[in-house]
Symmetry: C2
């Protein structure tokens, strides 16, 4: 049994290679391809595709079948970061210690690199010879819904509207469920679907993934207070400085930790109900809860 650390590193490498293989050959406009590759290469935990692969592996072995979907999912996540960082949105010059896309290139290229990654993600799934037409249609339908105007894009809109406002815990969770939660739902469900999960299992995994999505977000907020700048690769305390609505701001630090641990327990409960025996999803849940970066 490989350690979780080795598992994550191995799969990150697999995903990085798959992203290069997908995007490197695009040669109609080199500056556009460069812009897309820059942000894909800027690192990141590859959390969403790893969750997708681990979910699939709870049912089947050969992960080749999910690589195009995992890759497409990371393209969508990356496009959303490029657009979120734009001056008109969150106006961030740095991400993971590196200059953001519009700083290295320019705003126009960043907008187009995002548009390109978003569009290409659907093409990438649609052309996969390892998937049936029905599988592809289901995946594309789910992925578009999770990332579109009733999913991630709506979440980003609501997040922008909530700036400089005190929101309630329910409003905050609605934003997180849309902005980051739905793509994590997709990761877990798509992997299980391709692995052959039953509808009951998909339903339990939906619950599981909703809780780990929120745990991920709460932990982000907690790390902004108690985290170590060097380990995190970004400055801490910025949420408080920007008067951002966060779990600790609404519940206090101890309250946020309790809230997180409550969701962690519910996530484990749902995962037990899936009845897949040992699964890397248990370890990954532990990782999400205890992560320091």
């Amino acid at each position: 049994m490989v350690s979780l650390d080795t598992y994550i590193k191995t799969y990150q490498e697999k995903i990085n290679q798959a992203l290069e293989k997908a995007v490197n050959p695009l040669k109609e406009a080199n500056r556009l391809t460069d812009g897309m590759l820059y942000s894909l290469r800027a690192g990141g935990k590859r959390l969403r595709p790893i969750l997708l692969m681990a979910s699939f592996e709870s049912f089947q072995e050969d992960t080749n079948k999910v690589m195009s979907t995992a890759t497409a999912l990371e393209m969508i996540h990356t496009y959303s970061l490029i657009h979120d960082d734009l001056p008109a949105m969150d106006d961030d010059d740095l991400r993971r210690g590196k200059p953001t896309n519009h700083i290295v290139f320019d705003e126009a290229t960043a907008i187009l690199a995002g548009d390109g990654l978003l569009t290409y993600s659907f093409e990438w799934i649609a052309q996969d010879p390892l998937l049936s037409a029905t599988e592809k249609t289901t995946l594309i339908s789910w992925l578009a819904k999770a990332s579109g105007p009733t999913g991630m894009v709506a979440g980003q809109m609501l997040d922008l509207l909530a700036e400089d406002k005190r929101v309630t815990i329910d409003e905050l969770e609605k934003i997180h469920r849309l902005k980051t939660g739905q793509l994590i739902n997709f990761a877990i469900k798509a992997g299980a679907f391709l692995g052959g999960a039953t509808q009951e299992q998909l339903d339990e995994l939906h619950i599981f993934s909703t809780y780990i999505g929120l745990v991920f977000q709460i932990q982000d907020d907690i790390l902004d207070i108690v985290g170590d700048e060097e380990t995190l690769g970004k400055p801490v305390g910025s949420d408080e400085e920007n008067e951002k609505s966060t779990y600790p701001a609404l519940l206090g630090l101890d309250g946020a930790i309790k809230h997180r641990d409550n969701y962690v327990a519910k996530a484990y409960e749902a995962l037990e109900n899936v009845q897949i025996g040992e699964s890397k999803l248990f370890d990954l849940t532990k990782f999400l809860t205890e992560r320091k970066y």
Copy 2:
């Protein structure tokens, strides 16, 4: 036989209704839906979906089968206009005599409305109960390719890079083929594919649609010189003022007209080869060539 004018008006109305039906129910973030609807309602010729429907009708009657694809295509076209008008791109305050999306809302909303329309277009096709999984996968694959980083998005990138530069006629046509041509290719091919065209017919229609795509663009350039501001709904002479590379700038006005007529002849020739007898595509080609707006 209805006149072309009535045909266009009837189908514009059908498409407008289909767009409302698709986008109006999206309620997660009202400002986002408002932004999407604003640009969808801002008018436009609905040229691409009408070409798609006319192409389908050259083979089959009941256009219900193509409505989701026609609607998705117009969503993609509309998203591209919203993003192209942004300050970081072409920086246009007016389109079709109305303030552009980022002027009415703001840049962030405009970026997200574009992202939302783009993503939703794929969801809209993927959820259509009238299409088979194989049809949907083919359509999504073609549409993503036509509008993505080796299609429209690449064209917009090259167009921005060509600003304030003298380009050759070949470079100009490469930009047009990518930026506007591929979506027109898609319109014609998707309609014929859903109508049951043979591969030979699809190949001829690909040639046909490439020529009418270029004719559309040349006519745009010509109208910017000889057009009537009121009929066009926009000021003329702006291309020359902005020293834009256009067909008349490269070939002279007479040269551009000759170039257009040469392509028109080739378009008709390809269309004859499809052997579909009488088809609205003949009338639409005439309309594209002679249009005054």
